[in-house]
C-alpha cells in the first residue's frame, strides 16, 4: 500500500515539475511549482523526516513560492492576467536533459547503496537541533552570513541610483 502512495506522490512531483518547465504562463508555472514542493515534502515524510517535510512546506511554499509570485506580479504588467514567456532552444535543452538523466541513472545503478529495513527515528527534530548546534555549527553560521550578505545586496540593488 505504501508503495502505491509513494508512486502517486512521486508522479505528482515529476509531472508538476514538467508543467513548471513547459507551461507558457508564468503564474501557472508557479502554481505547478506548489505541487512539486508539496510532492517533495511528501517524499520527506516517507523518509521519516517529518521536520524536513514541515520545513519544506513552510520555507519553500510559504516563503519562496510567495516571493516568486510577488516577483512575477511586481515586474510584469499587473493589469493583465495573461503573462507568458517563451521557451527557446527546446531541442538543445532536450539533449542536455537526456544526457544528465542518463548520467544519473548510470550513477544510481553503479552506487553501492546501503539497504536496511526502515526504522522510525524517535525524534528527528531534537537530533537536527543538536547537530546544527554542535557538529555543523560552522556551516550553519556561514550559511546565515551568506544569506545576510544576499539580503543587503538585494536591498542595495533595488535602490534607485540617484
Amino acid at each position: 500500500m505504501a508503495d502505491v502512495i509513494f508512486w502517486v506522490i512521486a508522479g505528482i512531483t515529476v509531472l508538476s515539475a514538467f508543467i513548471v518547465v513547459l507551461n507558457k504562463n508564468l503564474i501557472h508555472s508557479a502554481v505547478a511549482l506548489l505541487f512539486t514542493f508539496f510532492g517533495v515534502a511528501g517524499l520527506y515524510a516517507f523518509l521519516w523526516a517529518d521536520f524536513m517535510a514541515g520545513a519544506q512546506v513552510m520555507i519553500y511554499i510559504g516563503g519562496i513560492l510567495v516571493l516568486i509570485m510577488f516577483g512575477i506580479m511586481l515586474t510584469n504588467k499587473i493589469q493583465s492576467v495573461n503573462i507568458s514567456h517563451s521557451s527557446m532552444q527546446k531541442n538543445a535543452g532536450a539533449v542536455v536533459v537526456v544526457a544528465i538523466l542518463g548520467l544519473l541513472i548510470w550513477m544510481i545503478q553503479k552506487t553501492p547503496w546501503k539497504i536496511t529495513t526502515a526504522e522510525e527515528p524517535i525524534q528527528t527534530t531534537g537530533q537536527i537541533g543538536n547537530l546544527l548546534m554542535s557538529e555543523y555549527l560552522l556551516p550553519f553560521e556561514v550559511a546565515s552570513i551568506l544569506l545576510l550578505a544576499a539580503l543587503i545586496g538585494a536591498a542595495m540593488l533595488s535602490r534607485k541610483t540617484k
Partner: protein, 373 residues
C-alpha cells in the same frame, strides 16, 4: 517614500462603491498604494435642479431644495425661504423664527451624526455608525411629529411654516437633548480617542487655512483648518444673534491643524453647540403666534437678484436668485458647500494612501445630492 517607482495604475472608485457616499466616481492614479492624482467625476445624481426651478413657481421650489441635500433638508429650505423673504421684505412672526432655528439646529445634529458615523465607517468602525444612527432616529421622530415626514420635510414656507408645533413637542425635544448630550461622550470614547482612529486621521489630509479659503471650503471643514468663521455669528441671519454659542475651531490636538481628526472634532463640538442653541430657543420660544400670519397670497418677488447665504451643516449654502417679477423664478443658482469641499479633495489627498483618500473623503462630509443638484 518613493525610492522605487512602479507602474502607475488608474483605479476607478465608483460610481458603485461602498464608501463613495452616493454615486460618485473617483479616477485615482495610484503608484502601488500611494495616490498620485484624483479626478472626481460627478453628475451621476444630477437632477436638473436649476432648470426645474425656472419652470415652477417659487413655492414649488422648496421641496426641490429639500432633495438637494437630503441629509439636512431643513437647513436647505431655510436658506431658500429667507432669501425669498428678504427679496419680498417679509418679516415672519417671532414664533416662526424660533421654530425654524430649532428645526435647523436639530437637523444640523442629525446631519453631523450621519457625517461622523460614515466617516468612522470609512475607517472601518461599524459600531459607532449604528450608535449615531440610533440617535439620529430620535431626531427624525421629532420631525415626524412636526410635519409627518422623516427625510424630506417641505416644512419651511416663504413667510411661515407648514405646521405649528404639535402638543408636547417642547417636552419631547428637551427629553431628547437630555438623553443625547451624554451620548456624545460615548462616541468620543468609542471612536474619537481610539488609538487606531487617531492614527488613521491625525496628520492625514491636512488642509491649510489659506488653501481652504482659496478653494472656497466652508463650514466645519474650514473651521477644522482653524478659521473662526461661522455665518451664524459673522453674518447673523434669522435670529441667530440672540443665542449664545461658541464656534469650535480645529486646534491640532492630535496632529496638525486642519487634519481629518480636527474636522471630526469640530463636528463633535458643533453638536454640543447646537444642543446649546436648541435649549435656548426652546426656552425663549413664544407660546403664542400664528405661524401662517406672514405667508403671502402670491409670491412674486420684485425684479432684481439676491445672493443669500446661510450656514448649513456642510458650510456656506448660497442661493443666487434672479427674479423678473413673474410667478416663476428667472434663475435659481445654488452654491452648495459640498461642491467646493469636493473640489479640494485632489489637492489634499495627493501622496496619501488609498485608504487615506477614503478617510479624507469621509471627513469632508459630502452629499452627492447637493454636489450634483
Amino acid at each position: 517614500m518613493s525610492i522605487i517607482r512602479g507602474e502607475e495604475m488608474v483605479l476607478n472608485i465608483g460610481p458603485q462603491h461602498p464608501s463613495t457616499h452616493g454615486v460618485l466616481r473617483l479616477k485615482v492614479k495610484t503608484d502601488g498604494e500611494i495616490v498620485s492624482e484624483i479626478t472626481p467625476v460627478i453628475g451621476y445624481l444630477h437632477r436638473c435642479f436649476e432648470k426645474h426651478c425656472e419652470n415652477i413657481t417659487y413655492e414649488q421650489v422648496i421641496p426641490y431644495t429639500d432633495r438637494c441635500d437630503y441629509i439636512a433638508a431643513m437647513n436647505n429650505s431655510f436658506g431658500y425661504v429667507i432669501a425669498i423673504e428678504e427679496m419680498m421684505d417679509i418679516h415672519v412672526p417671532e414664533r416662526v423664527e424660533y421654530i425654524r432655528v430649532i428645526m435647523a439646529e436639530l437637523n444640523r445634529i442629525a446631519s453631523h451624526l450621519l457625517a461622523l458615523g460614515t466617516n468612522g465607517l470609512d475607517i472601518g468602525a461599524f459600531t459607532p455608525f449604528l450608535y449615531m444612527f440610533r440617535d439620529r432616529e430620535y431626531i427624525l421622530d421629532l420631525f415626524e411629529t412636526v410635519c409627518g415626514a422623516r427625510l424630506l420635510y417641505n416644512y419651511m414656507w416663504v413667510g411661515g411654516l407648514s405646521h405649528d408645533l404639535p402638543v408636547g413637542f417642547v417636552e419631547a425635544a428637551y427629553k431628547f437633548l437630555d438623553n443625547f448630550e451624554p451620548q456624545i461622550d460615548e462616541y468620543n470614547n468609542l471612536l474619537m480617542y481610539n488609538k487606531i482612529f487617531v492614527e488613521r486621521t491625525a496628520d492625514v489630509g491636512v488642509l491649510p487655512a489659506d488653501v481652504a479659503i482659496n478653494y472656497g471650503v466652508s463650514g466645519p471643514n474650514l473651521r477644522g483648518s482653524g478659521v473662526k468663521w461661522d455665518l451664524r455669528k459673522n453674518e447673523p441671519y434669522s435670529i441667530y444673534d440672540r443665542f449664545e454659542f461658541d464656534i469650535p475651531v480645529g486646534e491640532g490636538i492630535m496632529g496638525s491643524v486642519g487634519d481629518c481628526w480636527d474636522r471630526y472634532w469640530v463636528r463633535i463640538q458643533e453638536m454640543r453647540e447646537s444642543v446649546k442653541i436648541v435649549r435656548q430657543a426652546l426656552k425663549q420660544l413664544p407660546s403664542e403666534g400664528d405661524i401662517h400670519e406672514a405667508i403671502p397670497r402670491k409670491i412674486r418677488p420684485p425684479k432684481g437678484s439676491i445672493y443669500k447665504r446661510t450656514e448649513s451643516p456642510r458650510g456656506d449654502l448660497g442661493y443666487y436668485i434672479v427674479s423678473d417679477g413673474k410667478p416663476k423664478p428667472f434663475r435659481v443658482k445654488m452654491r452648495s458647500p459640498a461642491f467646493t469641499a469636493m473640489s479640494v479633495l485632489d489637492e489634499i489627498s495627493r501622496g496619501w494612501m488609498l485608504s487615506d483618500v477614503l478617510a479624507i473623503l469621509g471627513s469632508l462630509d459630502i452629499v452627492l445630492g447637493e454636489i450634483d443638484r
